[in-house]
Amino acid sequence: MEGERRASQARSSGLPAGGADGDSPGGSAPFPGSSGSSALLQAEVLDLEEDEDDLEVFSKDASLMDMNSFSPMMPTSPLSMINQIKFEDEPDLKDLFITVDEPESHVTTIETFITYRIITKTSRGEFDSSEFEVRRRYQDFLWLKGKLEEAHPTLIIPPLPEKFIVKGMVERFNDDFIETRRKALHKFLNRIADHPTLTFNEDFKIFLTAQAWELSSHKKQGPGLLSRMGQTVRAVASSMRGVKNRPEEFMEMNNFIELFSQKINLIDKISQRIYKEEREYFDEMKEYGPIHILWSASEEDLVDTLKDVASCIDRCCKATEKRMSGLSEALLPVVHEYVLYSEMLMGVMKRRDQIQAELDSKVEALTYKKTDTDLLPEEIGKLEDKMECANNALKADWERWKQNMQNDIKLAFTDMAEENIHYYEQCLATWESFLTSQTNLHLEETSEDKP
């Protein structure tokens, strides 16, 4: 445990050192992949260090400050246990544990919304405490995602669950929807926590620890609406110019992303459809068993056989219900997350292309001496650095993402296969025991007939 504390302190001490890119609003790039790397902070967060008083955080509930907090390797929920196993690139240095639970409805005169409780347990030094509990609503998550994308435009930020699902929504806040969203939000935060760079993002830290009013005031301090709009306009403009010199590896990456997106969307649809068909099958099966009971009422000699058949059917029915819930817990959320990831990836590619487009246009301007070219070489130099960092960041993160994707998909489908095997095994056992009992009965009867 001591070793872990040292490791996290080493990381936190590495934080201020890399201020080289402080003037560029979006540019922060860690060295690829290694866990001991230094992470660079955004300009906004550096500004906030002056307001340390505001950031004094305290646990909402003092009773959480118990002995448990000194053992960061104890995950607080089964789900985070699973997350720990899944993220194979962070096996032994996990020092940030997050759970999302307890959705609560809040009604104001203007609107109704849901907040989720977020509990964070950590052993990191840069956190003022080892446990935090806050409440956040979906808007807050959106804000966090936006900040992360801003700070790391070419990193693969985990996807958020959709704002709303148009198809099949009866009311905005039905229980299934809330539960699905809660799980997805939990996944979202844990994925960030496990990302070697994003985990040290200051906005992330504030999100996990700040009280509601602190968060609101922090939010207001971001780049103004106008500057953000300006960025968007520039982005659109540059993307319309098109990317002529996308390097080969990024061409490949782009092709992969396009195809992957197609396929994962199809798989999502197929999986949803399977769930629907299984549900309808279950609904019909529920009616099937009882008819045999009804029949047994008018057949004296077949009563037992019919009743046994009915109970077999009912047991198979329960097994199919279990199979369905397995599908919806293991496969559907994973596939859906990767659908959202594929959209995310396309966004990342675009942002990378934008940086490239900006660079290319400046180079073009220099070549053809269109405008005042005095400052251009310096600007181009900076942009080239920026491009290189962005490309490297993406490449590294891409490898990491692919690895994760393969593991996740493999696990999800293996689970689905396992569920199906289990289902068929249960049904098999049920019918086999019925058959045995019938044969035994027959043997009994024939032996009774013998003199």
Binding site: Y281, E284, Y288, Q406, I421, Y424, W431
Partner: protein, 450 residues
């Protein structure tokens, strides 16, 4: 057929429609004995040999079905299916079978045979035919009569029908049935010549009897209720089963889509590619396995359907009893009223209303001679009536006895068959589960290798 039936005259006629407990003692005895058991006992009647001949020495199969076109009664072109019926006689000694007869029949001829049997054996629960049109269809299954799967299932159903008749102790001895299997041409004419259609009870008469009969045998009333329940519950079961089959089909088939997508996806994946591709193949196998599974289940549904239709056969026997009982009650009532009339005429009191009494009042009393004449006529009628009542009574009792014997036989058969069907359903489920385990185990292996 090498052996000529011992009593050609008697064999040529179907079982007579007159009271069964009647003059033809030999036939009656044979009927009684056969109805009681599997026909193994020796009643000493020649027909028993004939019976054994039917039960033990022949095999009947409906071996083929063929589409034909021809002209129907209105000289219009029509397409129909003809079925090949083959009869083999099994040699005693070596068990080899020799084809003795083979002819083609269409569904309508089977119907004709059955209608004939219904008229001439009203005390027997006559085996039903397979359905004329496909019902309880789940939507992927065709409802078209020309569909090869439907034709195949019907072929099996028709064979089953013939085998049921051949193994029935009484029906198997029927000449028309024998001719159905052996005489291709002219059979329809022969059946019609028996005039059975004329002898059939009118539906209206039967309906009338059902409502008006006062003292039917309680066992038949109970049997009627049972057959109603049986029909209702089996219909319900078949309907739900069809829906379940539909849904199951959906679940399996959607998995087939995985196969295609995995295969396309594997093209862009270096490490995962092989695993995805082979897993996709297993998804295809899974999806296509449902076709055979549901085809088998259709046979199970057919077994249940047979008993659904048997319910109607049971009701037919009940209806016949009600008709006979009603007839008896009417005859008794008529006799009673005639007796009373006679008595009144003899004693001179008029208690009952009669036209004669009315006219007497209006036009004056009749002469003693006239009255005597009338009494005489009535007495004759009463005599005749008493004879008829006696024979109707006998007929009725014989009917009940024989019918109930066949119903007991039917009950045993039904219990055996339904139990067997339910067990075969379990066997089918087991087979389906085993296939499922295999496919998914293979798929899981592929996934884990990705």
């Amino acid at each position: 057929m090498e052996q000529a039936p011992p009593d050609p005259e008697r064999q040529l006629q179907p079982a007579p429609l007159e009271p069964l407990g009647c003059p033809d003692a030999g036939l009656g005895a044979a009927v009684g004995k056969e109805a009681a058991g599997a026909g193994e006992e020796d009643s000493g009647v020649d027909t028993m040999t004939h019976n054994n001949f039917w039960l033990k020495k022949i095999e009947i199969s409906v071996s083929e079905a063929e589409k034909r076109t021809g002209r129907n009664a209105m000289n219009m072109q029509e397409t129909y299916t003809a079925y090949l019926i083959e009869t083999r006689s099994v040699e005693h000694t070596d068990g080899q079978s020799v084809l003795t007869d083979s002819l083609w029949r269409r569904y309508s001829e089977f119907e004709l045979l059955r209608n004939y049997l219904l008229v001439y054996y009203p005390h027997i629960v006559v085996p039903p035919l397979p359905e004329k049109r496909a019902e309880f269809v789940w939507h992927k299954l065709s409802a078209d009569n020309m569909d090869p799967d439907f034709v195949e299932r019907r072929r099996i159903g028709l064979e089953n029908f013939l085998l049921r008749i051949a193994s029935h102790p009484i029906l198997c001895r029927d000449k028309i049935f024998y001719l159905f299997l052996t005489q291709e041409g002219n059979w329809k004419e022969t059946v019609n010549e028996t005039g059975f259609q004329l002898k059939a009870d009118s539906r209206l008469k039967a309906l009338n009897a059902t409502f008006r009969v006062k003292n039917p045998d309680k066992r038949f009333t109970d049997l009627k209720h049972y057959s109603d329940e049986l029909q209702s519950v089996i219909s319900h079961l078949l309907r739900v089963r069809a829906r379940v089959a539909d849904r199951l089909y959906g679940v399996y088939k959607v998995h087939g889509n995985y196969g295609r997508v995995f295969s396309e996806w594997s093209a862009i994946e270096k490490e995962m590619g092989d695993g995805l591709q082979s897993a996709g193949h297993h998804m295809d196998v899974y999806a296509s396995s449902i076709d055979d599974i549901l085809e088998d289940e259709e046979h199970y549904a057919d077994q249940l359907k047979e008993y659904l239709f048997y319910a109607e056969a049971l009701r037919a026997v009940c209806r016949k009893h009600e008709l006979m009982q009603y007839d008896l009650e009417m005859a008794a009532q008529d006799l009673a009223s005639k007796k009373q009339q006679c008595e009144e005429l003899a004693t001179g009191t008029v208690r009952t209303f009669s036209l004669k009494g009315m006219t007497t009042k209006l036009f004056g009393q009749e002469t003693p001679e006239q009255r005597e004449a009338r009494i005489k006529v009535l007495e004759e009628q009463i005599n005749e009536g008493e004879q008829q009542l006696k024979s109707k009574n006998l007929e009725g009792r014989e009917f009940v006895k024989n019918a109930w014997a066949d119903i007991e036989r039917f009950k045993e058969q039904k219990n055996r068959d339904l139990k067997e069907a339910l067990i075969s359903y379990a066997v089918m489920q087991i087979s389906m589960c085993k296939k499922g385990i295999q496919v998914w185990t293979n798929a899981k292996e592929c996934f884990s290798k990705m």
